[in-house]
Amino acid sequence: MTDTSTLARGGANTSAPRRRRGSRNHARGSGLPDWAVPYVLLVPGIVVIAGLLLWPMIQVFVMSFQSISLRVIRGVADPEWVGLDNYTKLFENDVFWSSLRNTVVFAAVTVSLTLVVGTAVGVLLNRLSKGMSTFVIIGIMCAWAVPPVAQGTIWRWLFDAEAGIINWALNLLPDWLSTLVLGRADWTGEPWLNDAWSVYVVLVLTVVWASFPFIAVSVLAGLKGIPAELYEAARVDGSSPWRTFRKITFPLLKPVFAVLTILSIIWDFKVFSQLYVLLNGPTNREAFNLSLFSFAEAFKAPPKMGTGAAIAVVLTLILLLVTAVYTRQMVKQEDLA
């Protein structure tokens, strides 16, 4: 056996070793021809992705043109085809437009704030001593690790009208300053979570608090990869810190920033858990975003799954559109070959 395989490998005939290897596999008990191995390994993955992600994506698209009654949900009737009805009704609904606005404005503000704060902290971590930076990293990891539902709960408690610590802290400000900047002096009993605008102030804080650590740690990892000589040269040339950041750090970390931006956009467009907790469920319709609106339409009585699906389709399309540019860049960069 060993002899023949050595012979075959040395042989000039290209088809011979292939056949030889095939028979050897068989002898070793796998029984699979070489070309089939990767496909067999991929079967479970492909089945799961196709069945649980791609097929439902098509389904949600189809369902957005259907009316799905309770009888359909119970499985005793077929869905009724209603054409563009779900969409036309949706576009006439004020809640849709306010949800859309909330989603987009929230994502824009939160993504930019997270990136700026995260990058600043990443740069800071890079300049701290080893012990100090480990200490800070452990602190920010704790914030990052808090489950979204617990994030919402904690911040809801911090902003509690009666016993919340934020209102206590705001009362500490000198009255003139508080009035000048925030328009009022007495914050006792201020209900932050009643009105859509202030709910979103809390939500932005919550999400930035929980997601800047990831940006900071990733930026730090990127910074560690930049050769120190570059900074040395910049320093010798008398470059200002801001200029060094713009001319050296930023260009070199551009691929990292691209990924971080795209991930932040994906995460912040569909925030659900934190908002759900802050609003105490789908209650205040003015403060809905698209995820929560879709959920409320589909699962609050009476269930309007068709409309919920239409909202989900709108959310997906916006997200794909926004991320398309980045995705293309990533596909190009990533060495897929």
Binding site: P148, A163, A309
Partner: protein, 283 residues
């Protein structure tokens, strides 16, 4: 100012900034833990009580014995753990197989598969809620933890494969070739050579899936009907009752839900980052 004094001043400024970042990040977490050990008279007050001087286990014992929505918190913890562990076991096996395929073989359709992986990660999972809910009902998995496991495997798999493939690719191929030449079978090569070397990456990927499944609210909310099947995030919602909010109990429950995740995070923080931004930084 002398250069030495300036250097010292910079150091002080940097350390102060670092400490402020630390405080901003840790304070809400600390406040959650502190509140869960405070007696009610120190919780419902308009003054600032930095430490629980009237220290009590009342809330913690309360949620563990009395619980909420008719069950002890243990029941919800167990449900959450079952879903998360189930997701990890099935998900990492599937991810490992697929990652090996794309990292070790060149085959037709490989690039399309990788691009599909990338694109499905752009789909907001919340958008799939309605069809997945109906499919789970049709399959008879409604109100069963198994249904949640199936869904979570689907949601975590693309990222799992994506992350794991870089770990598999990092193992030198020569090792497997050596085993192969020594006459090991394909399975032995995989099990005895590749698997131990990819294990750290597998742990990181598993923890990521665990956390995703553990944290999920929206799917558990619509797929579980009976209160005995609720997971922690769903159970927590029931504390916000009509009788006013029992913040001590809520914070105790939040703490129980958060601690395992924090422990895992600190364990794998480095790999988390390298996995998430894999491919962006060429090293």
């Amino acid at each position: 100012m002398t250069p030495l004094a300036r250097k010292r001043l910079t150091r002080i400024a940097l350390n102060t900034a670092g400490s402020l970042v630390f405080l901003f990040a840790i304070f809400p977490v600390y406040w959650m833990v502190a509140t869960s050990f405070k007696a009610n008279d120190q919780i419902f007050t308009t003054s600032f009580i930095p430490f629980p001087t009237h220290f009590t286990f009342e809330h913690l014992f309360g949620v563990l014995t009395e619980g909420v929505a008719g069950n002890s918190i243990w029941v919800y913890m167990r449900n959450s753990a079952v879903v998360a562990v189930g997701t990890v076991l099935v998900g990492s096996l599937f991810a490992l197989l697929a990652a090996t395929a794309v990292a070790r073989f060149r085959f037709k359709g490989r690039t399309s598969f990788l691009i599909t992986l990338l694109i499905v990660q752009m789909i907001p999972t919340e958008a799939l809620l309605i069809p997945l809910f109906l499919n789970v009902r049709r399959l008879g998995l409604y109100d069963q933890l198994l249904g949640l496991i199936v869904i979570q495997v689907g949601l975590t798999l693309p990222f799992g494969i994506w992350m794991l493939r870089t770990f598999v690719a990092a193992v030198p191929k020569t090792l497997e070739e050596a085993a192969w030449i020594d006459g090991a079978s394909r399975f032995t090569t995989f099990w005895k050579v590749l698997f131990p070397l990819v294990a750290p990456g597998l742990v990181a990927t598993s923890i990521f899936s665990f956390i995703t499944a553990w944290n999920d609210l929206i799917f558990a909310l619509v797929l579980m009907k009976d209160t005995a099947g609720y997971t922690m995030p769903v159970a927590l919602q029931f504390f916000f009752g009509q009788r006013g909010t029992d913040w001590g109990a809520i914070m105790a429950t939040s703490t129980l839900m958060t601690l395992p995740v924090i422990a895992f995070f600190l364990l794998v923080q480095r790999r988390m980052v390298s996995g998430l931004v894999a491919g962006a930084v060429k090293g």
